[in-house]
Symmetry: C2
Subunit: 422 residues, 2 copies
């Protein structure tokens, strides 16, 4: 008898009908002879509604133990309803809060990290033949005795952490798409579902803007050797397996596994920086103090005789105002001429583990973009990824031509479901 962890997001438990539908699905898995642990998010927009309520009481409500106490009510509702629905189908079910399920975290309210998982009560429920349902997104700090939340993507992380602690065969992440695609099917109609991807590639895709899985959950799965299966809750098709090949294991690695686009970043260029040692360090120390999350960095060689260089970097849109203010306040100390703020950039990334052993990937990428008349503004690479920055308005076209150039196009268009894409 193998143990399967199944995670259902908010859209899968949005209303009574959805809850009954996934209850049937869970009971099917149980009837097939598996032990089943289910992780659920809050219903539909519940978390946003609770946040709205908090904002009505206290404008710009700070994170902290009280906000976490509030938000964790959401999963409590969905998990109890799901347990009732499963019991109504004749299968015993028990729901557990994060604290009851042993999700121990640090005390960082709003973005707590899991420090230990002690799912004794979940194991007991399985031992009596029950389906165990665990609230996603939430944990418990043993020192303070307080309830915590894990932040964005927290329910995925809960599922992966439980799968690791219970040595599950697989952690199934249910969503409203059929799996991980070679590109976003809403932009690239000929995108193909990926049958199998390494967690390393999945990490790069997620970091590059693929929304189907959260980076933290993939990291956790990679570190603990958990196999993920991203699949649709609307059909029984096989989805995408996210695997962790063992050291030395030979896996067939396509050169390019997928492409992803990201419109969530801005570009800041520090113009006319004296081209002397230490200036870049000075600039990024100042920016780091604003807690900005810097992504790509390019320093232009000083091409003029005045000994000045330009330094450009990208960062999340929400971090840009703080970084600009900090740099401006130190303008004289750094000695730059001006700042440029570009909020119309798009980032495209091609990811593939086979890139390691295949030359010519960047050449093929740059050629495809050139032939489509798309200008490249910045380039950054890792061992298994190449990212380029282009104009935001050309990003969808870029995604399509690159997808075609690397032979990823399917014969037919992908079926795109409605929904939020998570």
């Amino acid at each position: 008898m193998s143990l399967i962890v199944q995670k259902f997001g908010g859209s899968s438990v949005a209303d009574a009908e959805s809850i009954k539908r996934i209850a049937s699905r869970i009971v099917e898995t149980r009837a097939a002879g598996h032990e089943v642990v289910v992780v659920v998010s809050a219903m539909g927009d519940m978390t946003d509604e609770l946040l709205d309520l908090a904002e009505q009481v206290v404008p710009s409500v700070p994170s902290g133990r009280e906000l976490d106490m509030l938000l964790t009510a959401g999963e409590r509702i969905s998990m109890a309803l799901l347990a009732l629905a499963i019991k109504n189908l004749g299968v015993e079910a028990r729901s557990y809060t994060g604290s009851q399920a042993g999700m121990m975290t640090d005390a960082q309210h709003g973005s707590a990290r899991i420090v230990d998982v002690t799912p004794g009560r979940v194991r007991e429920a399985l031992d009596i033949g029950a389906v165990a349902i665990v609230a996603g997104f939430q944990g418990f700090n043993r020192l303070t005795g307080d309830i915590t939340t894990l932040g964005r993507g927290g329910s995925d992380t809960t599922a992966v952490a439980l799968a690791a602690a219970l040595d599950a065969e697989v952690c199934e992440i249910y969503t409203d798409v059929d799996g991980v695609f070679t590109a976003d099917p809403r932009v690239v109609p000929k995108a193909r579902k990926i049958d199998r991807i390494t967690s390393e590639e999945m990490l790069e895709l997620a970091a590059a803007g693929a929304k189907v899985l959260y980076i933290r959950a993939v990291e956790y799965a990679r570190r603990h050797g958990v196999t993920l299966h991203v699949r649709s809750s609307f059909n029984h098709n096989e989805g995408t397996l996210v695997v962790n090949p063992k050291e030395g294991e030979i896996v067939e690695e396509p050169i390019i596994t997928g492409v992803a686009a990201d419109l969530s970043e801005d570009k800041i260029t520090v113009v006319g920086v004296p081209d002397v040692p230490g200036k870049a360090a000075q600039i990024f120390t100042i920016v780091a103090q604003t807690n900005a999350n810097i992504d790509m960095i390019v320093q232009n060689v000083s091409t003029t005789l005045n000994g000045l260089a330009d330094i450009s970097f990208t960062l999340p849109k929400s971090d840009a105002p703080g970084a600009l203010a900090a740099l401006n306040s130190q303008k004289e100390a750094i000695g730059f001429e001006s700042l440029q703020h570009d909020d119309k950039i798009g980032k495209l990334a091609v990811v593939g583990a086979g890139m390691r052993t295949n030359a010519g990937v960047s050449a093929r990428l740059f050629t495809a973009l050139y032939e489509a008349g798309i200008n490249i503004e910045m380039i950054s690479t890792s061992e298994i990824r190449i990212s380029v920055v282009t104009r935001a308005e050309t990003i969808n076209e870029a995604l399509r031509v690159v997808h075609t150039a690397f032979g990823l196009d399917a014969d037919t268009d992908a079926v795109v479901h409605g929904g939020t894409g998570r």
Copy 2:
């Protein structure tokens, strides 16, 4: 520095504005130099909405650990919002679930009884100067590790139990009326607010249909010597003190403290019961097996020569069908002739500790009803209460004439607020 427990019901935390209003009130109490423990119910109709949701998933959802898990989400939301509102006013506040506050109960989901209260974390919060907010209505069973709920009036009971465990000076029950009245002001406009009432009298009034306090909470207060203060959350008037006079303490006891009416019961008459020993026992054993909550019982003397008697009893409307079915199924064994089911009765009770030492109370009651042309169908008495059953349609008139007859009328009409009356 004295400790005050303040309990706010669902209508006091119905929306963001109400929550901010009571937050100010709590902060005032804190600023006056008191330690403050607050007990809150779920917001407005939240509990009913959660029940509706459960019914959509599972028709006629049974009580149990999952339903309790669901319902306890309600207080979690209100208490966290209230804590945020108080902190926003510059006063430290911490919210605690029933389990965090040490409300230990038995395992009877849906109507758990408190077995122990260990409010160590509440005490710690007070010691650092914070307002402690505790979720009403909920507890925790230590043996099963499961969350429980206390049933109707549970938040009042939570407040009283915390007041007892923390040795509070007073337990303030906030409501949308000014206190306990000599009769329901919506029916008897000249009803007066009672300044002071013994818990014994309050118990009788609550049992007789006064809705302002729940019987279990008053019982708990009486047993543990907790003083209650029932008052309005809409003004700062003194409300009604519910006190526990010490043995031998001389208190001025009015003959009649208040009158109450109750339309929630039906009457069942077992007609033509053989007038032999053991028949009443047989009948009430059968009824008790349906878990019906029998209130008044009257056995008519057999006035005919056939040796048959009639036995009438009252019980909650919802218990009547089960009791009738059970009796009918044993018709031959008991040997009665027929059953009469009367769902149009009203019960009126006059309550007063001074009754013990004053003759003539029943005479004055019966005379008042007679003069108003109201027929009495059943009578039952305790040491400090007389109850009569009349036709349901005469009950309001009965309440007014009795209120007047015992000199309870105020000079002016009471101000009746809107709201549900709790």
